[in-house]
C-alpha cells in the first residue's frame, strides 16, 4: 500500500493508464544497477530515483572533476574531488529518500561483476570504455540479466536494450571492439552534454518500461540519435548466430580479460574520463 506522501509524490505517474498503484509498487520493489555515474548514468539515475525505483546501485571508481559538470548532472561544484558514487548518492537521497542507494566505489572486473549484478533486476550501462562495455554485456548475458546499452560520441548517440535469450546482445551488433586508438574517447573527441542527456533518459525510460511491463523495448532495435539534425533512426539488429557469447555455439562461457581483449593493456590508460 502506498503511503499518503507516496500517493502525492508519484501521483502524476500513478494516474497513467497501465501504471496505477500496482505499477508504482513494481517500481518501488525494483532493483536497478547503474554502471558509471557520468554523462549517461547521471540523467538515467536522476529519472530512476525520481520515479521511485526501490534500490539503485551506482558503480564508479572516479572522483568528480570540474570538467565533468558540463554533462554529468548528478554532481555539483561543491562535490568536486569527492568519489562520484558518494556525490551521486547524496543527490539521489536529496531528491527521493524513499530510494535505497548502494554505492560501489570500484572498477568492474571479471572477478567482481557477477557478484554485483546478481542482486539487480536490470542493468544500465553508462560506461565510457570498450573493456567495461564488453565485460558488462558478457556478464549480463551469462547471468541472464536485462541490460540497457547506451553510447555517445560528439553529436551522436545510440541505445539498445538487451534481453538475453530474447534478442541480440552488444556482441551481436559489434562482435569485436574497434582497434585501440581508432575511436577517440570523449575526452579527446568532445561531447555535447545534452546528447548524453537524451541517451541517458532513453535508458531510464527503457528501465521504467521493463519494470512496469509496458510498451515495446528497444530489443533488436538500435536507436540512433543525431543532435545536429535532431533526428532519431531505428536500425533493426538481428541476433548473430555466430555471436561468441549468445550465438548457437558460444565460445565464451566465462568472463575473460577485457583489457587484453580490447588490446588496451599496452596502451596508456589515461583516457578514462570519456563518458
Amino acid at each position: 500500500m502506498l503511503r499518503e506522501d507516496q500517493i502525492e509524490r508519484y501521483s502524476r505517474q500513478v494516474i497513467l493508464p497501465n501504471v496505477g498503484g500496482k505499477g508504482q509498487e513494481k517500481l518501488l520493489s525494483a532493483k536497478v544497477l547503474v554502471i558509471g555515474a557520468g554523462g549517461l548514468g547521471s540523467p538515467a539515475g536522476l529519472y530512476l530515483v525520481s520515479a521511485g525505483i526501490g534500490k539503485i546501485g551506482i558503480v564508479d571508481s572516479d572522483k568528480v572533476e570540474l570538467n565533468n559538470l558540463q554533462r554529468q548532472i548528478l554532481h555539483s561544484t561543491k562535490n568536486v574531488g569527492k568519489p562520484k558514487v558518494e556525490s551521486g548518492k547524496e543527490r539521489m537521497r536529496e531528491i527521493n529518500p524513499d530510494v535505497e542507494v548502494a554505492p560501489y566505489n570500484l572498477r568492474l572486473t571479471s572477478e567482481n561483476i557477477l557478484d554485483i549484478v546478481k542482486d539487480y533486476d536490470i542493468i544500465v550501462d553508462g560506461s565510457d570504455n570498450f573493456p567495461t562495455r564488453y565485460l558488462v554485456n558478457d556478464a549480463c548475458v551469462l547471468s541472464k540479466k536485462p541490460l540497457s546499452h547506451g553510447g555517445i560520441f560528439r553529436f551522436d548517440g545510440q541505445a539498445m536494450t538487451i534481453i538475453p535469450g530474447k534478442g541480440p546482445c552488444y556482441r551481436c551488433l559489434f562482435p569485436e571492439p574497434p582497434p585501440p586508438g581508432a575511436v577517440p574517447s570523449c575526452q579527446e573527441a568532445g561531447i555535447l552534454g545534452a546528447v548524453a542527456g537524451v541517451i541517458g533518459v532513453i535508458q531510464a525510460n527503457e528501465v521504467l518500461k521493463f519494470v512496469l511491463g509496458i510498451g515495446e523495448m528497444l530489443v533488436g532495435r538500435l536507436l540512433v540519435f543525431n543532435a545536429l539534425d535532431s533526428s532519431f533512426r531505428i536500425v533493426k539488429v538481428p541476433k548473430y548466430k555466430d555471436c561468441p557469447i549468445c550465438g548457437e555455439n558460444p565460445t565464451i562461457k566465462k568472463l575473460i580479460d577485457y583489457e587484453e581483449f580490447c588490446q588496451l593493456k599496452t596502451q596508456n590508460k589515461k583516457n578514462k574520463n570519456g563518458g
Binding site: 500517493i7 502525492e8 501521483s11 493508464p17 496505477g20
Partner: protein, 78 residues
C-alpha cells in the same frame, strides 16, 4: 429502481485535483469487477475532471447526486 449498495466509500471533499482521482483509482484497483465505489467530491474542478477520468479508465459512473454543496458519485468497477 433500487440503488446498489456501495462496497466502499471515499470522502474526497477538500481533496484537490488530481489527488482525488488518484485516490479513486487506487481504491478501484483494490476492488473486484462489478463492485460499487461511492465517492464524494467537491463542485467545480473536481466535478469537471474526476468523472471524466473515471470513464476514461473504462469504469461506469452509474449515479450522480448533488448533496448540499458537493457531489456523490456511484462508480461500477470495470
Amino acid at each position: 429502481m433500487e440503488e446498489k449498495k456501495p462496497d466502499a466509500t471515499l470522502d474526497l471533499r477538500g481533496v484537490v485535483c488530481p489527488i482525488n482521482f488518484v485516490k479513486t483509482k487506487l481504491k478501484l484497483e483494490e476492488m473486484n469487477k462489478g463492485q460499487i465505489l461511492e465517492i464524494v467530491i467537491d463542485p467545480g474542478e473536481p466535478m469537471a475532471n474526476v468523472p471524466r477520468s473515471i470513464k476514461e479508465e473504462g469504469h461506469r459512473v452509474i449515479k450522480v447526486d448533488k448533496i448540499n454543496d458537493h457531489f456523490r458519485l456511484l462508480i461500477e468497477k470495470a
